[in-house]
């Protein structure tokens, strides 16, 4: 059984009110923790936390605690040690680490749903994703954020590199464009209340309402699409007509087994002049039923116009 030690210090104090106070308190730490640290401790000055003229800016003690014993002896850990891996000292428990952050950051719209959310319940620490001392916090940069998320979400790391994908690896779409890792009222930590609302943020042309609606489109885009990546363009779960067959087997051609007929003449199909069929080859069903997201044509009930 584990014998690892855990610092269970009391929650730290709120930020100081005066910038000069904050600097004075910092100096107690920076006497030792200077530019020679292997990690860029002082680079925090480049971040929002280091903007001392903002009266809300924290001192070292705001997050790490007063750490009086540590000031007396460098062999004693500060009150709050952040991180997941043991270094010189063993990190505090996640709850204590996060309490230090939430003292200031809990009461805002983006973190309203943190408590009881998927990441909070899974004991994800703020510092699992954020580097508060680094001048460049990777998770807050669209180009580098996915790598931070992929540290845990490894299936998605592979999916975003598939043949059909959102421009995530290319730095044009970030995970946080769709997800709020701090918790949300939507499914899968989506930024909006529903899947469709989230997708419409960029794909507003799919919103309608259309004259002729396709029922699953009004409920959940992921019935047909896999947003993290797919082998089938555009982000489809599978290729028509096989995908369409999963919900339709009555209307004309969807009752027929297809198999190699989808490959057409090059796949070995011969026979009557009607082969290959435009219902099976190429876009298959969507050769004609191309308005799968809905049609606004009065003559488009079957999503053909």
């Amino acid at each position: 059984m584990s014998v690892y030690a855990e610092n269970t210090a009391a929650p730290v104090k709120a930020p100081t009110a005066k910038p000069s106070d904050s600097l004075d308190k910092d100096s107690a730490c920076t006497k030792c923790h200077d530019e020679n640290e292997s990690k860029p401790i002082l680079a925090i000055a480049q971040t929002a936390h280091g903007n001392k003229a903002d009266s809300r800016s924290p001192s070292c003690q705001s997050c790490h605690g007063e750490s009086e014993k540590h000031l007396s002896s460098k062999n004693v850990a500060p009150d709050v040690i952040f991180g997941a891996k043991k270094g010189v000292f063993t990190p505090n428990g996640v709850k204590d680490q996060n309490t230090a952050c939430l003292t200031c950051h809990e009461k805002d719209q983006k973190r309203t749903h943190w408590q009881g959310g998927a990441h909070q319940v899974a004991d994800v620490a703020c510092t699992s994703c954020h580097e508060t001392h680094a001048a460049h916090d990777k998770v807050r940069d669209k180009r580098t954020q996915p790598d931070v998320c992929f540290t845990c979400h490894k299936d998605q790391r592979a999916q975003v590199r598939k043949f059909s994908h959102h421009p995530i690896a290319e730095g044009k779409v970030a995970c946080s464009d769709c997800h709020n890792p701090h918790g949300s009222a939507g499914p899968k930590l989506l930024v909006k209340n529903t899947v469709t609302e989230t997708c419409y943020t960029c794909h507003a042309e799919k919103r309608g309402p259309y004259l002729w609606e396709h029922q699953p489109v009004t409920e959940d885009c992921t019935t047909c699409h896999t947003p993290h990546g797919s082998n089938i363009t555009p982000l489809l779960k599978s290729r028509p007509p096989f995908m369409c067959d999963e919900c339709h087997d009555g209307p004309h051609a969807s009752k027929n087994p297809v198999a190699g007929a989808a490959e057409g003449i090059q796949g070995g199909l011969t026979g009557n002049p009607a082969n290959p069929s435009s219902s099976y080859t190429g876009r298959a069903c969507t050769n004609c039923h191309s308005m799968v997201h809905g049609s606004n044509d009065p003559a488009g009930a079957l999503l053909q116009r």
Binding site: N51, A53, K172, G264, P276, G282, L302
Partner: protein, 795 residues
């Protein structure tokens, strides 16, 4: 003073070539701090250089702007300043200007200015050219980004499958009419974001985003055949397919305004979200070569502008969404908190309908709508309502309790009307035949879909010991579906309601200091109301009497679409991470899911699995080697009926065929970084990855015992050649510090995609179905070499 070499803070190699090359600009790679002041002061960077890409490829350049062979400029900058970086100044003012990928169509610019804690303004501009294909060919003429396409006047007849004039045997004149169109969509995104803090308790935020999209994507179109409007037999082949350039000329304006109040125990935010979508077009028109013919009904040699039926179809309609939002939280105590929100949205669409007149092959105009339109536009309205409330309690040490409620509703109050029109899929007429023209009417009634979802959730997270945690989650979900005021009162949905219960158990264990283990299991059970499966439910209500094929949305008795049937779902997952040494990290995790659907016909079951193995060895400061392997597999099995339509006709077991869909994915990667070479002046980065994704389809037709799978006139059973995409990528980057503030970056990248996809087969000249215009679209394999050299100056 000690010289410190800052650790490179980004896995450049995991980004695509563009972002990787630009990372050197945007990130503080070149920060060589001399002293404390250097560390506290922002590092500004400017990069300039050039890059050469060896091949034209829309796929390689899909999002990175490197779609054409040739040289590209590399340019970027990141400059920051303001008294807020100076502790000696009593000012929190900071500003930033940044630019990246300036030499490509993926360029971005941003800037910000703000007195931290008081106000801030952010400006952003971002471009992205989404390249789709550079092999599309079409005889259609017109502005590639427009919405009206015509055929050359002498293009002639294409009415038969084979032989002279058929799509598999184009005449020389027809073949020469094809030209290549490069398909892409340009996205330009501008944003303004401001915030102002009135007091420690009160602040406001305003965000505006303008997205402009222009270009075209490809779309399938079915042609109207001839129709009988009292002018005799007007010939044309129904459902003739043209793959066309669908115009993308959109603007989307998103506005978000919010007022935030924060008190000692609670906070609340009231806001407005607006999304205004505008499409410059409401229709797409084209001439169909497959729907031409002479009015007499016998000629197949019609030549001239009036030989073609002019078809129209709709495009995405302009629409608006206005939403009021209220969210907040309150701390009853340090251990008991409540959070919740409410939203109301009003979504409207009233764009004018696409023209309903088509120009027939004899030059006369005909209206597809028998009896005209009930309205000139939809007057569509959808109201969305959301509410959520969550209570959390941590009064008991090591125990977190949470209970929540969510409600979402999409209430569609769009008017339901009858739309009677000539059906696209009616009889085909070919020159020389005596078949009657299309007189079949489709009697459609639009069915505005509404739905609501109510969810209850309870979570208990308990720390068994300092090394063990267990989480238990229970969810209940209730879904309802309906349509408001459907003309005639027909049912519109196959499954009007469902209930689902889900329970999850997760266990985490720190086995020893360096080893973390986790495992979880989830079980869900969905019970669907399928009472409407025998009603006239499904696509669209019909004014016709409910009988025959109208039952069960036109599906066979016993068939059920998988999102709307009873389902059992199982998910298991486990993982272990081991920090073997201070330098070596190892991790393995996997998952398995199994879904079982309770349907006589339709999707029967599905399962998926995945494994990830990761290892990182950090053998020195700024030097490491990482490797990963990922495997994913998914399979879905479904049963379909070949005949047995109607409410009283059960599909006989001997008429059931099966489909198996399988996806398989393998990827491995190796990344290495070596810093500190040549007295700390040189850093080398290498990345090698390989990925193979396949999608396979297999159809079993046990009843067709007399027609073997190898029967080349059918090919309705057996295996489809897998769709495969194999990507090999190799990249080296060298960063050499030429002086304190300057760095040269040399990058070489090789990327090869082997793409095999039968999707393209039926679009090739000579191999099309008898009603499909060839496009000549080619699989998007490529082999690209990229070399880039840039100079990065930091100050």
């Amino acid at each position: 003073m000690k010289i410190r070499h800052e650790k490179m803070n980004v896995k450049i190699l995991s980004l695509a070539v563009r972002s990787a090359l630009m990372a050197a600009v945007a990130l503080p790679l070149g920060a060589y701090a001399d002293d404390a002041a250097d560390l506290k002061r922002p590092t500004n960077t400017i990069e300039a250089g050039s890059l050469y890409s060896s091949q034209n490829s829309a796929r390689f350049g899909q999002y990175n702007g490197l779609n054409d062979e040739g040289f590209y400029g590399l340019g970027g900058f990141d400059v920051r300043g303001g008294e807020g970086y100076d502790d000696s100044k009593d000012s929190a003012l900071r500003w930033k200007l940044g630019g990246s990928n300036l030499g490509t169509t993926s360029r971005a610019l941003d800037g910000s200015l703000g007195e931290q804690g008081q106000w801030k303004i952010n400006l952003g501009y971002d471009e992205l050219q989404h390249n789709i294909t550079n092999s599309f060919q079409t005889p259609q003429q017109g502005d590639p980004d427009g919405n009206n396409f015509t055929l050359p006047a002498n293009f002639g007849t294409i009415n038969s499958a084979t032989g002279q004039g058929g799509t598999r045997s184009l005449t020389p004149a027809q073949s020469s009419a094809f030209q290549t169109e490069q398909e892409y969509v340009n996205r330009k995104n501008g944003s303004v974001s401001t915030s102002y803090t009135f007091s420690p308790q009160l602040s406001a935020q305003f965000d505006y985003n303008h997205l402009d999209q222009s270009g075209a994507k490809l779309i399938g179109t079915g042609s109207q055949g001839g129709i009988n409007v009292g002018r005799g037999n007007i010939l044309g082949k129904a459902e003739g397919n043209n793959i066309l350039m669908n115009p993308t000329s959109y603007t989307t304006d998103n506005v978000n305004a919010a007022l935030n109040w924060t008190g000692e125990k609670g906070h609340i935010t009231g806001g407005y979200y607006g999304s205004l979508f505008h499409d410059d077009y409401n229709s797409l028109s084209w001439q169909s070569a497959m729907a031409n013919g002479a009015a007499s009904g016998t000629s197949n040699g019609c030549v001239g502008a009036n030989c073609y039926v002019n078809n129209t179809m709709s495009t995405a309609p302009s629409n608006t969404m206005h939403q009021a939002n209220l969210t907040g939280g309150y701390n009853f105590s340090s251990n008991t908190k409540v959070a919740g929100g409410f939203s109301y949205g009003y979504n409207e669409q009233n764009a004018s309908y696409a023209p309903t007149n088509i120009l027939q092959a004899n030059g006369t105009s005909a209206n597809m709508m028998m009896g005209g339109l009930p309205a000139s536009s939809l007057n569509g309205v959808v109201e969305t309502t959301h509410g959520d409330l969550k209570l959390t309690n941590q009064s008991i040490d090591d125990l977190t309790l949470s209970a929540g409620f969510k409600f979402n509703q999409r209430d569609n109050s769009t008017p339901s009307n009858a739309y009677n029109y000539y059906n696209l899929a009616a009889s085909s007429l070919k020159p020389g035949t005596s078949a009657a023209p299309n007189t079949a009417l489709y009697q459609g009634v639009n069915t505005p879909y509404s739905n609501s979802k109510t969810q209850y959730e309870a979570v208990a997270a308990y720390r068994l010991s300092k090394a063990q945690n267990i989480n238990l989650t229970y969810d209940h979900e209730s879904v309802k579906r309906w349509c408001n005021g459907v003309l005639g009162g027909a049912q519109c949905v196959a499954s009007p309601a469902s209930e689902e219960d889900k329970i999850s158990l997760t266990y985490r264990l720190k086995v020893i200091e360096a080893v973390n283990f986790n495992a979880g299991y989830t079980y869900a059970n969905r019970r669907a109301d399928t009472s409407n499966f025998l009603a006239n439910a499904g696509n669209y209500a019909s004014q016709a009497a409910v009988s025959g094929s109208a039952f069960n949305a036109g599906n066979f008795l016993g068939y059920a679409a998988y999102p709307y049937v009873n389902r059992d779902q199982n998910l298991g997952k486990a993982g272990i991470n081991w920090q073997a040494t201070e330098k070596l990290d190892l991790g393995v995790n996997g998952r398995y899911t199994y879904d079982n659907y309770d349907a006589t016909l339709g999707v029967q079951n599905a399962h998926s699995a995945g494994v990830n193995v990761d290892a990182t060895y950090s053998y020195a400061e700024n030097s490491s080697v990482s490797a990963y392997w990922n495997w994913q597999n998914g399979q879905r099995n479904l049963s379909n009926g070949a005949s047995g339509n109607g409410a009283s006709q059960t599909v006989a077991a001997t008429n059931i065929w099966n489909n198996q869909l399988e996806d398989n994915s393998n990827s491995v990667g190796l990344t290495t970084r070596r810093g500190g070479l040549l007295n700390g002046n040189l850093e080398l980065i290498g990345d090698l990855s390989y990925a193979l994704d396949t999608s396979s389809y297999s159809t079993q037709v046990p009843y067709a015992t007399t027609v073997p799978c190898g029967n080349t006139t059918q090919l309705t059973c057996g295996n489809v050649s897998p769709i495969s995409n194999e990507l090999i990528s190799l990249k080296f980057t060298g960063n050499y510090k030429v002086h304190k503030n300057g760095k040269l970056s040399l990058t070489y990248m090789y990327q090869k995609l082997n793409s095999n996809d039968y999707f393209y087969n039926g679009q090739q000249f000579g191999y099309t179905p008898n009603s499909l215009m060839p496009t000549g679209l080619q699989p998007q394999s490529y082999t690209v070499n990229v070399v880039g050299l840039s100079y990065n100056y930091s100050f």
